[in-house]
Symmetry: C2
Subunit: 192 residues, 2 copies
Amino acid sequence: MYELILKNISRFIKLTEADESFFISLLKVKKLRKKQVLQQEGQIARYQYFINKGCLRTYMIDDKAQEHIIQFAIEDWWAGDLYSFLTQTPAKLNIGAVETTELLCIDNPALEMLYQKVPKFERFFRLLIQNAYIANQSRIIESMSLTADERYCKFIERYPAMERRLPLKHIASYLGITPESLSRIRSQYKKR
Amino acid sequence: MYELILKNISRFIKLTEADESFFISLLKVKKLRKKQVLQQEGQIARYQYFINKGCLRTYMIDDKAQEHIIQFAIEDWWAGDLYSFLTQTPAKLNIGAVETTELLCIDNPALEMLYQKVPKFERFFRLLIQNAYIANQSRIIESMSLTADERYCKFIERYPAMERRLPLKHIASYLGITPESLSRIRSQYKKR
DNA sequence: CGTCTATTTGAATGTACTCAAAAGCGGTGG
DNA sequence: CCACCGCTTTTGAGTACATTCAAATAGACG
């Protein structure tokens, strides 16, 4: 249950066994079935989530009632509406399960306690935020400088595992194009 | 020289006179002429900048040698490549002056000292990072969900002061369109 | 097996782009 | 101070890419 998350963290900070068991004691387990919604626009994000198994999507619904996927997360990734979580203001983002998913959840008070007791974790979560920040910045640049098929190429290079699991319409939403366009791009792609 | 920055900070945290004078002692003043480059791709970002007067642009140069403006900053704003600054890794962004500009600069060691002596500032800079994060997120969503002229509308609503000062080509770069397209959008716009 | 949703394919449309050329504007040096 | 040069902005024409709408096909799930 907890090997994956401990391995994930150990890539950035070294923990003693005591640190590890304290950390684990703060986690809650949550299971979602396909299409279940984990968090909705308007609510304050209470948790950050680590994905043990499955796949989540974080998305936004615009004025025209269109969904736009901001981020996917699969096993060994973190997800959560960082902005709402950090500011404790109502979320503008929704999070839902793409597949049956098993999560480990940590809430804000638990995180504060963790920082008190094991300050190394401050570093870990700061790195998490920094990575989220740079990921967003890259997306801005790519969405402006690349054509749809270039964005698709980058996507499958970067996340080959996801491309196989995700329905086309979700990838299209992430890339900012229509499902029809992505279908055409893919068929072009196979010819080579 | 320092009224503006103190007022800026006081919107988020309350400082004593001693806090204020310590903070000011850590700042360096820097002046740039129009088009001067403040920071380049490849260098490690040493400073965060507060703009006392003038205007900066933060931009990225892609594989096709095209510039893409990520952010503008005018009086009473902060600028700087946060990612490079926080991680102390080489910057992917460039920063340059759009006009003659006067800056107050704080470097990383000074900031650490500040956190030690006046911990309230941790909160202030955390808020700065959070705002940068959400600003990026909004841009992603807008670049995907809005047409070029809708993005232009949002831009002038949000930053009316900038629209008047910035050359068209820079606004076009920020919006992710060609100068020709923005020129056409503007002429449409005036007809109403 | 049947229903519902996702994906593919086609045709017509629209939006923004490229390339080219003209007009406007600003700064510099004579 | 004015003339000139270079850069920015505008305008036009043709093109490319992605969209919309519609219909057909494929796939998933009960």
